[in-house]
Amino acid sequence: MIKEDLIERAGYMAMRQAALHIPDDIFDAVKDAHQNESSADTRRVYDAFFEFAERRTRAGEVVCPDTGTIYYYISIGNVEIDRSIDFWRALARATVSLSREGILGQKSGDVVHHTNNNINVGENSPSIHYKLVPEIDYIEITALAKGGGGEMPGSKFRMLVPADGLHGIKKFFIDSAVSAAKGGLACPPTIFGLGVGGGIAIAASIAHEAAVLRPVGSRHPDKDIAAMEDELLEYINYIGVGPAGLGGHRTASDVHIEYSNGHMGVVATALVAQCLMAHRATVKLFADGRMELATAPEGWFTRPWRKSMSEVTK
């Protein structure tokens, strides 16, 4: 049976990995961008990046110190767990340990009272998101330490209406993504997550999940949406704000879109950026206490409606 101490250890393992290692899918995308970059200036900047990342990783230091806002995404599979587990307490303990070790920065504080206890825990921090996923036989914890570049200049929301059309949604994406990337603010090459529909809460959270939980190269199962992901990726890279905002052909590593049915008058539209350092990592925790790092969360985008739609509409 999984108990609270195991949740703390799995959370610690995931967040430590998130802080210290750039995820493989993102690092590979940056390497690919480097090889395909035609601008000599931009190649020079990439050279400096790889030299730096290697030096920092070898020293066991965070590659980027902006570990920002602390999130955990948890998919609870079909596994026996102690019902008295306090997930917040377990993951807050993991967060405090990593903060005291200096692996997490001291970035998450109280923005209303403008105070900071330097250990990243407090009102709704860490922020924890859950799903019950009967298809998997483990608990999957994805840790995310999200830097300010993706959150502040890189995240936008607009309430559109059907009269604004599909081109209104695409314009929102282009304008917002260009603004996020200029000056290198969202640290491009960026993964952009676009969330459409439902309402403000739904659009913002699915945009966030699209940016931070889906790996580079993944495509939405709906072929129209997948085509729009390719289309918007092509546009943003054509516009040429470029890596670090210095001009060039790879402003985005990828574009991911998630959408939601909802009130037919409400075209809530949100964009969230994930920076190239992308502090995210996933750990699978099995019933016997075994823990395993995974390259990307597998138990989050289960889309039960795609499986059970015909059954519920019979």
Partner: protein, 219 residues
């Protein structure tokens, strides 16, 4: 043509002559004493007009960094900076023109571009706005610190170590890329001169009507 220009090495305090010869696109290495702060300190200084506890005539290079400090010993006599990376400058745009004027700064180092207020202050008072060469963490900083941060040189720490005013003694930090120079040139604006035309092309591809405006729900 390369966007990168000449390389310069300066030691603090920088003179007005030093910075007036530098152009947008040049790369700077800076040695000496540098200070960092964020909104908490800038508001206290620029808005509340509380005198700074450091002499910015001697220490006239400012960094928006400060990613926090880790204690080196149990008594907290000195601190190791968490690896420095400059932070987004635009969120301090409200403070920067007055910061440059009141503190007599010659360089402000931030992530990304700044607004017209900072550009004008750079021209008027002889200051440069620098950004990282590439991503904010790339310029050497921690590696070239001459000493740990002394506890007595961490000021106004009530809002946490990330927001505190911190003094660093550095040897040859850089490369820092000059975005705004003292003639009013802005590197990022030069780089983005083709961007607006390309955006217009993309608007056409998505079938956006030329007179498109979003439906307004405000009243």
């Amino acid at each position: 043509m390369s966007i990168f220009g000449k390389e310069y090495e300066f030691t603090t305090p920088l003179s007005e002559d030093d910075v007036r010869k530098v152009k947008a696109g040049d790369l700077l290495y800076i040695s000496g004493d540098i200070w960092s702060a964020r909104s908490y300190v800038l508001k206290k200084f620029v808005v509340d007009r509380e005198p700074l506890p450091v002499d910015t005539k001697k220490m006239n290079v400012f960094l928006t960094g400060g990613e926090g400090l880790r204690p080196v010993d149990k008594e907290h006599t000195c601190w190791d900076p968490v690896p420095i990376g400059v932070t987004l400058g635009l969120r301090f745009e409200r403070f920067f023109p007055k910061l440059i004027e009141y503190a007599g700064l010659r360089c402000v180092i931030t992530k990304g571009n700044m607004g017209p207020g900072t550009r004008d202050a750079c021209v008027k008072f002889g200051c440069l706005q620098l950004t990282a060469f590439g991503w904010p963490v790339l310029p050497r900083f921690n590696e070239v610190l001459k000493a740990k941060v002394k506890d007595e040189e961490v000021y106004w720490r009530e809002a946490g170590m990330v927001e505190a005013l911190i003094v660093y003694h550095v040897g040859k930090t850089g490369p820092w890329l000059v975005n705004m120079d003292t003639r009013g040139s802005v590197l990022f604006n030069q780089i983005y001169s083709p961007v607006n035309d390309r955006i217009a092309e993309v608007y056409k591809k998505i079938g956006l009507p030329e007179d498109f405006e979003y439906s307004s729900l405000e009243q």
